[in-house]
């Protein structure tokens, strides 16, 4: 077994200073560690060090039967657990060729889009914290709390739902859900202009985020950036539209895109996406058919030998699962292509050359969740 060489201690010169940002730092959103090379206040070089939250997610997955992996996926992107469940069960279903009942599909979309709103709300709040705007954080959490209440009424959990099953859904929606969810949406829609008043329209905020952290389209594709970051760069690419899964092709929604790819564009894309998700949920609630929620699934899940890569558009971007099966009850190899991991890899490119304060804003605009980056 070869051993990697340990990096030599860094020599500081007169002009440059190395600052270790993280793993414990308020604005690294978890246990990310960034080695910053500073020239005064200007960041000349960023080296991310990740893995502080590595917990052998993939190795564990290989030692569990297919159903047992679902609860572990919750812990990947813990701000969008529903979506991780969604991506995983979809992959296994595709691997086995399982059909999912209509009602279950609608339930999946409703919950997933609500999750997207909740995840974007957290992002917006913490992004406010990064820029020193503390109030938006509380506003966003107020709304997210209501979404979590809804999720609790559905699944009994508030963060790690483990609610999707291979082949369908485990429980039907509670009776009150339809009215509660509609009431929430009606209540939520006027909240978006409220965020604009606090954040979007604020001139200080605009001056802080416009024109920094520019990510051009070529670099974005080269680094396989996905999700709101890619759309912020002006590429109209959304897997819900471009590689439709589940029943997303039945809904009408816009794909907001930015123009220059700066932090402001990424902010606006997420801000507008919340409204689009509301539209999708409204349509899904309207069309929600009655019927079965669990498809025909064998007692023992034994996919044929083979492998598959399948992807969904999680709130952070392309969440992919690669599963190689050897015909047994357990995945032979189970790999997660996490959007935050890939999106973070572009930080040294778009973050260098900015002031420390801008670097923090840029990092915030990437929207990382370390549970997913480190797996």
């Amino acid at each position: 077994m070869e051993q990697t060489e340990i990096i030599e201690p860094i020599q500081e010169t007169m002009e440059e200073m190395y600052v270790n940002m993280g793993p414990q730092h308020p604005s690294t959103h978890g246990v990310l560690r960034l080695m910053l090379k500073l020239d005064g206040e200007v960041v000349t070089e960023i080296t991310p060090y990740i893995g502080y939250l590595h917990r052998c997610h993939e190795k564990i997955g290989e030692n569990r039967i297919y159903t047992q992996v679902i609860p572990y996926t919750d812990r990947l992107d813990y701000l969008a657990s529903m979506y991780n469940n969604f991506g995983y069960v979809l992959t296994v279903e595709r691997l086995m060729g399982l059909q999912v009942p209509e009602r279950a599909e609608y339930m999946r979309v409703i919950l997933a889009e609500m999750q997207r709103i909740a995840s974007h709300l957290i992002w917006m709040g913490t992004f406010g914290l990064d820029l020193g705007n503390f109030t938006i954080f509380m506003y966003c959490f107020r709304e997210r709390e209501k979404i979590l209440d809804l999720f609790e009424s559905v699944s009994g959990q508030r963060l790690n739902y483990s609610f999707y099953r291979i082949g369908g859904m485990p429980l039907d929606l509670p009776d009150s859900f339809l009215t509660d969810c509609k009431a929430f949406l009606e209540w939520f829609k006027p909240r978006l202009p409220e965020y604009d008043a606090v954040m979007t329209d604020n001139i200080i905020f605009q001056k802080r985020v416009q024109g920094i952290g520019k990510l051009d389209q070529k670099t974005a594709i080269d680094y396989a950036i996905s999700g709101p970051m890619l759309r912020g760069s002006g590429i109209k690419w959304d897997l819900r539209r471009n590689d439709p899964y589940s029943i997303y092709d039945r809904f009408e929604f816009e794909i907001p895109v930015g123009s220059t790819g700066d932090v402001w564009d990424r902010y606006m894309v997420r801000r507008l996406e919340m409204a689009e998700s509301v539209k999708i949920v409204e349509q899904a609630l309207r069309d929600l058919p009655p019927g079965e929620i669990m498809g025909k699934v064998p007692k023992k899940l034994k996919p044929l030998a083979g492998d598959i890569y399948s992807r969904v558009e999680s709130p952070r971007g392309e969440l992919g699962f690669y599963i190689a099966s050897d015909g047994s009850e357990k995945p032979y190899r189970y790999k997660v292509r996490s959007p935050a991991f890939v999106n973070l890899s572009v930080l040294p490119v778009i973050g260098a050359g900015h002031l420390v304060a801008d670097m923090v804003a840029i990092l915030g605009s990437i929207d990382i969740v370390l549970g997913e980056v480190d797996r």
């Binding site: 600052v19 730092h25 820029l131 020193g132 503390f134 109030t135 604020n202 200080i204 802080r208 002031l355």
Partner: protein
């Protein structure tokens, strides 16, 4: 007032004690009163800020300690900070580290000498009044630099550097913005400035100066949107990263005491000091001061933080020329009116 002082001295003279003793006693009493006032006022301000921020953010804030709306929360926090362990980092320069909070607090304390709470409620009406405040406030920066450097922490050094740059740049517009008022009154004495505002508060003729002063004062107190020296998301806590317990409490105390000072100076210079109908003068003074403090808190919980270069641009390219313009126009008007 004066009579009772004379009687006080006479009583000691009758006992054959040298006059130094009553003088010292008097000084100590006044100093203790000021410190007492600062402590109570700061505790109130902290509680108030928590309440204001909570209501801006649709929550309640402290509700438990002390019963009614958690009024004793600050006291509880203060006690907690006092009994915490005093940690000095291993690599720190111990002497400077220990000295820094004292310097900051001493500067904050000294400024209270010239605050006119009422017609006779002033520690000493210095004839250099405003200038005294301006000069003493620059001491705070020395304390901050000492704290930042002695902590032996890169974040705190960065915070100290930012703080020094900010203070040096914003002191200039601050001073120039005050000049309009001083030119109108023709005196630096706080009492005379207040008395000159019997008919009209200077906030009306000197509105631009007032706005510049308020902006620069926010920067002087390191409050959001100018809290760059302690920007949490960038420098963790800036210059006081390594401070805890009692020493941290002193920094905190000084910060809020400074906030009160700049608000009190704004009241004196622009809002007519203790003038006002019906209510007693000292109450008017406090009402106006706390109103300005409220505005500062309001801004803090509404706005985002500026970036370093934006801060410098605002200071040098916007506030300073505006302040000079204000000063020039004021001078012109004064000359034309004779």
């Amino acid at each position: 007032m004066e009579k009772s002082m004379e009687r006080f001295y006479a009583a000691f003279a009758a006992l054959g004690v040298p006059s130094i003793v009553p003088q010292l006693i008097l000084m100590l009493v006044v100093a203790s009163l000021v410190i007492l006032f600062i402590s109570v006022s700061v505790m109130f301000m902290i509680w108030w800020e928590r309440k204001i921020s909570a209501h801006i953010q649709v929550r309640y804030g402290p509700m438990r300690v002390g019963g009614w709306h958690g009024w004793a929360q600050s006291i509880a926090d203060g006690i907690k900070l006092l009994i915490k362990e005093d940690v000095i980092p291993a690599g720190a320069d111990k002497l400077v580290f220990a000295l820094a909070p004292m310097v900051v607090f001493a500067a904050a304390l000294a400024a209270y000498v010239i605050i006119p709470f009422g017609p006779n409620l002033i520690v000493r009406d210095l004839n250099i009044g405003v200038l005294f405040y301006i000069s003493i406030s620059s001491l705070t920066v020395v304390g901050i630099i000492m704290a930042g450097w002695s902590s032996n922490n890169k974040y705190s050094v960065l915070g100290a550097l930012r703080s020094a740059a900010q203070a040096v740049s914003y002191e200039v517009p601050l001073v120039v913005s005050i000049l309009g008022v001083i030119m109108t009154v023709g005196s630096l004495s706080m009492i005379q400035i207040v008395e000159a505002q019997q008919r009209i508060w200077f906030v009306i003729p000197q509105f631009v100066g007032f706005l510049i002063y308020l902006t620069a004062a926010l920067a002087e107190c390191n409050r959001l949107p100018f809290d760059i020296p302690e920007a949490e998301s960038e420098l963790v806590a800036g210059f006081h990263v390594e401070y805890s317990g009692m020493r941290f409490a002193i920094f905190f105390l000084a910060e809020y005491a400074n906030m009160f000072t700049v608000a009190a100076i704004a009241t004196t210079l622009f809002l007519g000091g203790w003038h006002g109908p019906l209510l007693p003068p000292w109450l008017w003074f406090l009402i106006k001061t706390y109103f300005i403090i409220f505005v500062m808190m309001w801004l803090r919980w509404t706005l985002a933080r500026l970036r370093v270069d934006q801060l410098m641009n605002l200071g040098w390219k916007v506030l300073l020329p505006l302040a000079f313009l204000n000063m020039g126009i004021t001078g012109l008007v004064l000359v034309l009116l004779g």
